[in-house]
Symmetry: C2
Subunit: 253 residues, 2 copies
């Protein structure tokens, strides 16, 4: 999280175990009740929310830092995590405003110096997440993508860019592995695509296309217990899925 690099009570002069100029922010996306959700944190003693994130340790890689933060906030590891942009403006947000809102949490002279932040997004299986706040926050909660309040720092902007990157990725790579449970139905996958793309898709065309990619197994079993016709369950073919990730399927002309 932008600025969280210096811990609240760190003695001046002692060298920090963290990089001081670069922080990391995570847009953690889940899918629930036909809606994309983002994991947000509420800062102690405030009604202010922000993305999970934080500083990077000097002895860990940036990717490792992203994994660590994801693990701390959700309990999950081994998840699809994608770096999408470095946010390097000098004035990414109004620092005085942040200083005012969070002054009870951090020593003002240490905080809120310029920090560049790298954005990652993660796609996770919603019910597997155990949302966990960090040292600066007292609540960690899912928010529907269309109900996000005004966030601290430049985090509304960051989410917007993350979603654009996700849509681009969707346009030439498969998505869904790790975002859906291991077994899922085609209508569920379709609703995921519809949610990310923001428009409806034709179920016949969607099925033909998806099955044609050769990255799905149809299982013997169907999902019982719904109030309607029992849909088939599917599972990703991990090998083919990964191959498709690296090679993509859209090319010039």
């Amino acid at each position: 999280m932008s600025g969280k690099n210096i811990t609240a009570k760190q003695p001046a002069g002692k060298s920090s175990p963290f990089l001081s100029e670069l922080t990391l922010d995570c847009v953690i996306l889940g899918f629930h009740e036909d809606q994309l959700k983002v994991l947000l944190l509420r800062w102690r003693g405030t009604q202010e929310w922000s993305l999970p994130g934080g500083p990077i340790r000097k002895e860990e890689s940036v990717d490792q830092a992203a994994c660590r933060i994801l693990k701390e906030r959700t309990g999950l590891k081994d998840i699809f995590l994608q770096q999408f942009q470095l946010f390097g403006d000098v004035e990414r947000y109004n620092r005085n405003e942040i200083k005012e809102k969070l002054k009870h949490l951090v020593e003002p002279e240490k905080w809120f110096e310029r920090a560049v932040s790298v954005g990652y997004y993660a796609l996770v299986d919603y019910p597997k997440v155990a949302p966990t706040p960090d040292a600066f926050t007292e609540e960690c909660q899912w928010w529907g993508i269309d109900e996000i309040p005004s966030l601290l720092f430049d985090h509304n902007h960051l989410i917007k860019i993350a979603l654009e990157s996700l849509r681009i990725q969707l346009s030439w790579q498969p998505i869904g592995y790790k975002l859906l449970p291991e077994q899922f139905t085609l209508p569920e996958l379709q609703r995921l695509y519809e949610t990310i793309l923001g428009r409806t898709l034709d179920p016949r065309n969607f099925q033909r296309k998806m099955l044609g990619l050769g990255i799905l197994y149809r299982l013997e079993t169907r999902r019982k217990g719904g109030a309607h016709k029992a849909p088939y369950l599917y599972r990703f073919n991990k090998q083919h899925y990964k191959a498709m990730l690296t090679k993509g399927s859209l090319f010039f002309s």
Copy 2:
């Protein structure tokens, strides 16, 4: 350039005008004699080459730093510049090797601490470039993309990733504006695409496709002086080109 953030003779303890943990590297691409070229620098007193780059000033944005470096090395401004990745590994390259190779240029205790680097690529009009070395280097020169020697730092890897990003960009956005002169012929544009994609394209299909995008004007004049049939000159329609850049033209299904 990774590590160049601390100037050679900077007195210890004096605060630097640069960010110390984040540097920037530029893959500057030109197109000449049907070949993609990269601008490289040779370090003083060595036969070692690297990409242009350097530290980021505390009061400039990362994008501005990229523009500044591009300007310093080429004389050009207002150029297509694209951030493509942050390289954040702890050991991006063998630091001892670099220390040995460049020890005569920088104080070893200051140098070669961990630095994260953000990569940009730029597409420039080859003949407009005036290659200019920086303080650490004595030569600045174009290299054919297939003739690049083993470079300092992790710069061979950086170039590889830059080219992959460029190919992806090419697959859903137009390219060529700022990489070609203002007026150009369709065969020139085609050779550019072929070079980036690494395969040949059919001229009839290429023309139909390009003209169909509506981003080209055909001019009245033809290019005279070639040894053969005079080709038509074209020019990009800047408005349509930019619209195409933002909206792209490949989508899901």
